[in-house]
């Protein structure tokens, strides 16, 4: 990273005998969208709460622009907690204005920003209603407005897509991309890995409080041993089991998946394949984020 806006440095947190976070570190730069994935209970919510200062870490720290984060810095973060929470019987605009003012906005400024964001997220005209009168999806949009209202420098969103319909997911993704392109840093957690893959510049995979993989989606996808799919319809049944430098992972009909040993050139495999007859397919197998995620979980489970 050239420029680090937010750094999480060796955070540790225990709940009794359970280690929720174990020396967790990562950093996010300005304008970057960082996806935070991991199974339930891995420590994503705990990390976000510590960043926002609503929880204290046992050790380690959070830095904002290179210095230990202060209370005033935290006001410049927009936050969407995992547990959605607004005042159910308070008017939508009224409570947004209140939250905006708590973040240092003026009353008029907060009112204007609330109106603009409600409009943008398609809940304009509901401002005067009590929050509890809105549908679940619309309440979630209001919750996002609460995070965006005060033009924060960073957004920390805990499962922002959970429970949203596809239209709302698109609207929310659109807003996040737009904010990031205008320089806002975004950290969000999600179980929807395709979405993370599409949206994020970088991804962190966390398990049992530890970062097991962190990098751009491309880096992660290409970080493992090189795998290749080869379609050789004329090859005899047992072909490929004993090729030098290329281990057969599995066969699906006439297609075979090989894993190359480190340093082995894929052209050797192609030449060997051509000897069996025609080669209909020869391509790199790049795992999806979902596959990487499963792999990471399995490796940890074995280890």
């Amino acid at each position: 990273m050239v420029d680090r806006l937010l750094e999480v440095d060796r955070l540790a947190k225990r709940y009794g005998a359970v280690a929720a976070l174990d020396e967790l570190s990562f950093e996010v730069g300005p304008g970057e969208i960082f996806g935070f994935v991991g199974p339930n209970g891995a420590g994503k919510t705990t990390t976000m709460r510590i960043i926002l200062g609503v929880l204290a870490a046992d050790s380690g720290g959070v830095r904002w622009a290179g210095e230990p984060i202060t209370f005033a810095d935290r006001r410049r973060i927009g936050y969407m907690p995992e547990e959605r929470g607004l005042y159910p019987s308070m008017g939508v605009t009224e409570q947004l204005v209140f939250l905006g003012e708590l973040h240092g906005m003026t009353r008029d400024g907060a009112r204007a920003a609330a109106a603009a964001w409600l409009e943008r997220l398609g809940v304009a005209g509901r401002g005067a209603e009590q929050l509890q009168r809105l549908s679940h999806g619309n309440q979630q949009r209001v919750q996002l407005v609460a995070a965006l209202l005060h033009s924060p420098e960073a957004l920390v969103l805990d499962e922002p897509f959970a429970g949203l319909d596809p239209v709302a997911v698109d609207a929310m993704s659109e807003v996040l991309r737009d904010r990031a392109s205008s320089g806002m840093t975004v950290i969000f957690s999600s179980h929807q890995l395709e979405l993370v893959e599409q949206l994020c510049d970088r991804v962190g995979i966390i398990r049992a409080g530890r970062m097991v993989a962190c990098g751009t989606v491309d880096d992660l996808r290409h970080s493992g041993p090189e795998r290749l799919w080869v379609d050789v319809p004329s090859a005899p049944d047992g072909w490929g089991a004993e090729l030098p430098g290329a281990g057969l992972v599995r066969a699906e009909g006439s297609r075979r998946l090989f894993e190359l040993s480190p340093g082995i050139d894929d052209q050797g495999l192609l030449r060997a394949a051509l000897k069996t007859g025609p080669v209909r397919e020869f391509r790199k197998d790049v795992p999806s984020l979902a596959e990487l995620f499963r792999q990471a979980m399995n490796e940890e489970a074995v280890a």
């Binding site: 300005p30 709460r49 926002l52 200062g53 609503v54 005033a72 936050y79 005042y87 973040h103």
Partner: protein, 420 residues
């Protein structure tokens, strides 16, 4: 990153507390509970005042007797009229020429009675029966008339004899004088202490429930990312406290407006100082107890659990109240003529009234009494203010440690230990 110092300052503490307090105040004052509750109370007061004017006052009004007197009995009119105010009646006397002429009108109800004949033994004609008060009054007047006649017969001046008789009286030596003021002031103190107790029970509970409601709706996490827990706590107490003050002012104002003109209640002017000092203690007591209630409420996750969780605080409050009785009831009895209290009790009241959790209840009574020296008053205020600071600190800590933990009730010691 650009880190301009002006933007780093963020929100001031005062503004944060103000914003939280304003939200509590505005949303609650507009709420159904407040509007209906206040309107209902004022309505009940109005009904009471109207009843007082239209019904109760009527019950107490003086009756007027329409009486007919013949010329011979006319001498009884003046003494009868004079005895009226003390017995609660007025006399409307009419002269009639003779008994026969007036009797039909007695029968018709125009006169309550006809008085005729010798003033020392007159004949009284009524329709069915004579009013007992009127009879007693007439008997008294006639006896006096008979006595005067006897005195005159004995050659004495009835007026001179009466003056002599009126001048004779006992000479009183009061060993322990009853002082109305001594009694009135501690009673006002007790009333203030009792109002405080009611006020804390009502609004302290609303604050405690508000804390749990914020926890239950999870909005507290969003709030704590923007304001410190102490600011949130203090703002809540202030905002809801002001709602209570407003409600009290509306009800109290309406009560005074309705009762003072109708003479149901009169304001003792001398007690104004007591009331003002009482109000200071009222504010201190409310803030102290509300902070404790709010902190203990943050330990639980559901509104139903607020009661049990805040039981220790409520018990301290009840204890303060009991102390007030134990310590001051004997004094009040003494002020109104009962036995003087044992000297040990006085020390107990002095010491107890300096303990912060008891001061708000006991100090107003002692002040009303006038037995608290200035230094003790000042010391108690100082001690209470520092415990408010202490409770805010500890409460903020408990609050921050508890509000994000849902489910089972959290132990107080645990909540205090973990630093957030």
């Amino acid at each position: 990153m650009n880190r301009e110092p002006s933007a780093r300052g963020g929100l001031g503490s005062v503004r944060a507390v103000y914003l939280v307090a304003r939200r509590e105040f505005v949303t609650r004052v507009r709420g159904k509970v407040f509007v209906i509750g206040t309107a209902l109370t004022v309505g009940l007061l109005a009904v009471y005042a109207i009843l007082q004017i239209t019904v109760f006052d009527k019950l107490n009004t003086t009756t007027t007797y329409h009486l007919a007197f013949t010329a011979q009995a006319e001498r009884l009119i003046a003494p009868l009229e004079a005895s009226g105010p003390s017995l609660g009646f007025r006399v409307q006397a009419t002269q009639v020429s003779n008994q026969a002429a007036a009797e039909p009108e007695v029968r018709g109800g125009a006169y309550d009675a006809l008085v005729t004949g010798d003033p020392t033994s007159p004949l009284v004609v009524v329709k069915t029966q004579i009013d007992s008060t009127l009879r007693a009054a007439l008997d008294g007047v006639v006896r006096q008339e008979a006595l005067d006649a006897q005195l005159r017969a004995a050659g004495l001046n009835p007026a001179a004899v009466e003056a002599q008789v009126r001048g004779a009286s006992i000479h009183l030596d009061t060993l322990q004088p009853f002082n109305a003021k001594n009694l009135q002031q501690p009673i006002i103190g007790m009333i203030i202490a009792f109002c405080l107790y009611l006020f804390i029970s009502l609004y302290g509970t609303i604050i405690a429930q508000g804390v749990v409601a914020e926890k239950a709706s999870r909005v507290v996490e969003l709030l704590l990312a923007a304001v410190r827990s102490g600011q949130l706590l203090f703002g809540k107490v202030l905002g809801i406290g002001l709602v209570g003050v407003l409600q009290l002012a509306i009800i109290g104002g309406a009560g005074l407006a309705l009762t003072v003109p109708t003479h149901i209640l009169s304001l003792p002017g001398a007690a104004l100082g007591t009331v003002l000092l009482g109000l200071l203690w009222f504010a201190l007591g409310f803030v102290l107890y509300s902070l404790m209630l709010a902190s203990t409420a943050s330990l639980v996750s559901r509104v139903e659990e607020v009661g049990p969780a805040s039981l220790p605080v409520t018990m301290v409050m009840v204890l303060a109240w009991l102390l007030a009785y134990v310590v001051f009831i004997p004094d009040i009895t003494a002020a109104s003529g009962g036995p003087t209290p044992a000297p040990g009790i006085e020390n107990l009241s002095t010491i107890a009234s300096l303990i912060p959790v008891f001061s708000p209840v006991l100090m107003p009574i002692r002040l009303a009494y006038g037995d608290a020296p200035l230094w003790q008053s000042a010391l108690a205020v100082l001690l209470t203010l520092s415990s408010i600071a202490g409770v805010t600190w500890a409460g903020a800590r408990v609050y921050a440690n508890s509000v994000l933990r849902f489910g089972a009730r959290i132990k107080l010691s645990q909540a205090l230990r973990r630093v957030a």
